[in-house]
Amino acid sequence: MDSVLSPAAWLLAGIQALLFTLAAPLLSGWVKKVKSRLQNRRGPPLLQPYQNLWKLFGKEALVAHTASPVFRAAPYIVFSSTWLAASVIPLIATKLPTAAVADVIVLVGFLALGRFFLALAGMDVGTAFGGMGSSRETLIAALAEPAMLMAIFTLTMTAHTTNLSSVVDHTLESSYSLRPSFLFALGAMLLVAVAETGRIPVDNPATHLELTMVHEAMILEYSGRHLALMEWAAQLKLMIYGVLIANVFFPWGIATELNLGSLAIGLAAITSKLAVLGIALAVSETVLAKMRLFRVPEYLNLALLLALLGIFSHVILEVGA
């Protein structure tokens, strides 16, 4: 691959990773804004998440005296693993040097690593809420991960590669665009994304209602820069799922050549795709009510079923037997 050697391409990959990280709070702010508008409120300004992060970074990080080193290390591990995951996902262009490691299984692994430490941190201090949050998070993850992997396998079976960048390229080149398997995989991915990023109806990011919270329960003990990193990681995760869905299922517009024009188109494309996804998320959060925890397995079973149907319909309908 020529691009591996080209310094410009490496630079571009760096910029893309940085852009990913920097844009993540904006996406959260956008969802929040749209949601407020839908509920006839004015809502916080679009850039509010940045101000929150800035403020938290400036504050002192208090740590409970029962906390172990895991508690202190967790925010850094969670943030960096999420960021590593983010940096390999094709955002505005596909043929970048980082594409070589953009393997979906690696990606899922990074996310799992982050979640593992998040759950550990939740339990570390020994408070009731942290443990509860961790146990719920692992319950959800245990059900969501197989569904996500299967949805992704559907795509990789179609493209005959587990490399995300190649999957995107394959979809762009194929004339067979309306695939039933993609439809099901998309459904499964949407459901999994909602569960994994802790949105309604699985979890509610906006409240600290003690009986229902999952993600918030785990990071309850954090403050200052630790909390900032945790929140940022959560925003990054939302962005990761958004970009995955946008670029894998609707890759049109992404830059396949590294020139300024197509990069600009790529940037505009991903911005508008994420904006639309954000609106969709806000609408669904407004329309749906949070469900009780013991119904979450049913919800994730649906995701699993969709992913399974995706694989089946790929094998049955699309492989030219």
Binding site: R179, P180, E298
Partner: protein, 224 residues
Amino acid sequence: MLQLSLTEQIVSVLSAVVLFSSFALLAQVRLVAAVHAFAWQGALVAAVTALMATVGSEPHLYFSAVLTLGLKALLIPWMLHRLIRRLALDRHVETIPYPALVILFGAGLVLFSYWVVLPIERLGFAATRNVIALTLAVVLLGLLMMVVRRQVVSQVIGFMSMENGLFLAAVAATKGMPMVVELGVAFDVLVAAVLFGVFFLQIRESIDSLDVDRLNRLTEAETE
């Protein structure tokens, strides 16, 4: 790789959605919602038929599509709906034992039907041959629904969704059956639907419930 025209792609997407609607029927515990899902399935089958008619320029399929739409998507759901209201089952919620297992078993049936139809698909007679496996799966899922559901109305919906699968099979495999046969089948389905209505009332009258588990007087067990 398979080369399909856009319409054929839409056909396969829609048939995949028909399969999904079968799963929705299987998992749906609220009767009224199940009737709606059934109506949607009928409408999807009609849409697939109409598209097939465009692909193969088979004008008689348009007629079949209209027939299906009228019968499976409008008339029979309407009859079921009316019966449900008449029997005051609007708010009836069924309990399915082990719903996740049922769904998994359903997924197994999809694989099974693929395995059954695989030798036929290898023949490669038609571009839409792959749909045959899905239609068999719809038939078997309807059967599964009749097995796991204990409520008379849901059993009937399972039965009718089997018919949907069969009809789709005929459309996908052979561009529809000869007109006479298709009319005969439609007539049989209609009569069956009317008879089902009669039966609801008879069963209700005789056991004062529509729960099939209470139809248990005739067994081989030696009870006195």
